[in-house]
Structures are given as structure tokens and as C-alpha cells.
Symmetry: C2
Subunit: 230 residues, 2 copies
């Protein structure tokens, strides 16, 4: 294949999408909120408390199309909802928002990891196989996609970093939904959304974040992945 | 950090190493044999039957420093032994070679995968956590490293491919051993050995091969990974 034929190919336009971010007051969620807003998407940061969500939106600076709201409002207002809550509250948060998330594309970027002194980060076992599969089980009426696992929160929030140099692996069983999330990833400069397989193969993508943490420690880096020959 | 300071850094010289490859008559093993021999390392292809091993060595062409032998001879003669056997025979092969592999660096590149129609490739559960951890459990006197999981056998064997454009994730708990295997990976043009974490994080690297298979199907590619910011 020639250079021109390679790459994720024709993807839909994700420019008009409103993005809700559950757990948007954490570093990962806030970082994604910042980058999508900078790309011109309307973003609603969600939190259990509306005032914390509004504070987080204000922190990102005036001029960006970001607002804050309680999680149910952030979920209900959005076209695409990113789940960036801590693993601890993953199941309960999603269960409580089942109605608001029905029919929506739900993008899970949660990494179920444990940490132990001397061992470092490691993958926690998940009954359903992965956080993304748990989301799919809890939200049978939503279109669950897994993505954005390996994106460094620190780089997302760093005003000195113009481009995010990595590929985002996008997993899911609904082609239209994965295409849209790939397009969304592609709106952030440097970032590319690459299809990464079906949802039953999400575990290893989530778990690989533990390896990236080891790599970052060894090389004092903010490592990400690029997929070659795509 | 500047560009010069990044990268895997100072690694030992792996030029003088003799490499044994268990299961060296399979495509993955034979492909690695070919590339290491082309890089100037002496390689011994191992098989259960010496004549099959010799045939495989001859197929790779005269002029390359490759020979074939029964697995115990290939293991005993080598400084570094690569395990490229099918997952089915993994445990039994290693158990039968415990004495020959004692004290050696054993590099496991086996991916325990299943295939199902309509589902594609997926990771098989492994009692010890991963093929590499199984190797470590079966070979308590060897220095087990996990590496070369994502290397395309097809590209390794393709005479039209000069450089392998990917990073090889090298995992293990023995720094001297992982450094040496990183150096070994770096002997193949285009390939770079990058430390990828401790052995307890090998499962997701092995399992990720299922995702690469999905990626290859979607994009008609021979995908590999590059680690950014290292």
C-alpha cells in the first residue's frame, strides 16, 4: 500500500459534538476537557457536586467552551460521554446514570490498576474482564467504546505542550461509534484515533497503562504508543 | 530532556552472543533466526527433530551463521535462548529442558491466544498470569525475560523488508538480562528494545497481540508499536 492509502481513512466529522466528561474534575478528565474545548468542541465537565464541576471549568480558563454541571446533567446534555471516574466508583457511577446514558456513545477510559510498594502498578482483576466491559454490562442501552487510556494527564494539562504525540486505541463492537470516537481523538493536535479491536480485547489496553508507568519511571518520560504501518 | 538524552541509553554489546531458538522451525522462530543471523549473531534453531531443525536452517540460505539441532542441544549451546514454541507445548517443552536452561537468559515470546469465528483473536487465561510467568515458574534457575511478542513473522521472513519498524517491549525482573535483550533487539535494523516493565506485567503485552491482529485485519497492515518520548 502507498503512504496515501494508509491511516485510519475516512472518518466522520466530530466537530459539532458536545462532550460530557464524568469525573471531569480529576486530572485525566480535566485534561481531556481542556484539549477538546481547545479544538472547538463544547464540553460539559461533570462531577457529583455542581460547584466543583464549575470550578474545574473555570480553572481551564475563560474563552474555552467548557462548563460544569452535576454528572446527570453533563451526561444528559452531551452527544458523547467520557467516563473518567476513579475505578473505585466506576460501577456505582454508571449504574446511577443508566437513564441519562441510554442511547449515547459512552467512552470508557478508566484503567483498573493497583499499586504496591516494590511492585509498582499492576492490573486489577475485573469480573467482566475490563472496565469497558463492565460499562457495557451496566449500560445495556448505551454504545460503549473504550479509548484514551494511555493519554498523559500531565501533558494534557501542560500549556507548554501543543501536540499530544500518540495514537489513541479505540475499541468497541459498534463501528459507527468507534469511527466517531476515532474522529474525536483526531481533533486533538498530534493525536490519532486508531481502531484497536473489539471490547473483549479491552483488558490488555487498560492494563498496559501499568507498563507505561514502568516505562515512564525507567526513562523519565511521558510515554505513549504509536501504531506502525497504519 | 534533549533528543540526545532520550532513548534506551547505554546497553551492553550483544554482538558475540549465540542465540538458541526453541521452536525455531515455526515462522516466528525462523524469522527471528534469520534476522539475528543477518545481524551477525550465531544462531542455533532448535526443534524436537534435528533433521527438521537442520532443514529450517538450510532454508534460510547459505552464508548465514545458522545451524539446526535438537532442542536440548540448541538450548545448551546458546548464551540466550528464545522460546518460540506454540502455546500448547509451552509448559512441557520448558519442563523437559530445565537442566539445559539453568543459568541462561530465556526470552519468552509466546502469546497465549485463542481464535473464534466472529470473535477473532483473544487472550487465553494462564494460571501463572502469562506465558512469561509460567516460564519463570517452570524454570526457577533461569533468567526469564519476555520480548518479541509483536514482531510480524511475515515481515521477519520477507526478503523485501530491510528494516523492522517497531519497538520491542522487553520485560523482566533482572536488569542485566533485560538490558542484554534490549541490546539484542537493537541489532535488527529498525528495531529498538525498550524496557516494558516487570514480569508480572507481561500478560497484557502478550494479550495485546490479539489487538494487533484486529488492527491488521481492519487496516490491511502489519502493525507494530513504537513507544513515544523514549
Amino acid at each position: 500500500m502507498t503512504e496515501q492509502q494508509k491511516g485510519p481513512g475516512d472518518l466522520p466529522d466530530a466537530g459539532g459534538l458536545t462532550i460530557g466528561i464524568l469525573g471531569g474534575t480529576g486530572d485525566q478528565g480535566k485534561g481531556l476537557a481542556r484539549r477538546f474545548a481547545m479544538a472547538g468542541n463544547r464540553v460539559v465537565i461533570g462531577s457529583r457536586k455542581a460547584d466543583r464541576a464549575r470550578e474545574a471549568a473555570e480553572e481551564l480558563g475563560a474563552g474555552l467552551p467548557v462548563s460544569g454541571a452535576e454528572n446527570p446533567v453533563a451526561a444528559g446534555d452531551a452527544d458523547v460521554v467520557i467516563v473518567a471516574v476513579p475505578w473505585d466508583g466506576h460501577r456505582a457511577t454508571l449504574e446511577s446514570l443508566r437513564a441519562e446514558l441510554a442511547g449515547k456513545i459512552v467512552v470508557d477510559c478508566v484503567n483498573p490498576l493497583g499499586f504496591e510498594k516494590g511492585k509498582g502498578a499492576y492490573a486489577l482483576p475485573v469480573e467482566e474482564g475490563s472496565a469497558a466491559q463492565q460499562a457495557a454490562a451496566v449500560l445495556p442501552d448505551s454504545r460503549v467504546v473504550a479509548a484514551f487510556h494511555h493519554v498523559s494527564a500531565k501533558l494534557l494539562l501542560d500549556p507548554g505542550v501543543d501536540a499530544m504525540e500518540l495514537d489513541v486505541l479505540v475499541l468497541g463492537d459498534d463501528r459507527e461509534a468507534t469511527d466517531l470516537v476515532q474522529a474525536l481523538a483526531g481533533r486533538i493536535p498530534g493525536m490519532r484515533g486508531v481502531y484497536g479491536g473489539r471490547l473483549h480485547n479491552a483488558h490488555q489496553v487498560e492494563a498496559f497503562t501499568a507498563n507505561l508507568i514502568s516505562i515512564n519511571r525507567r526513562y523519565k518520560s511521558h510515554a505513549g504508543l504509536r501504531v506502525t504501518d497504519v
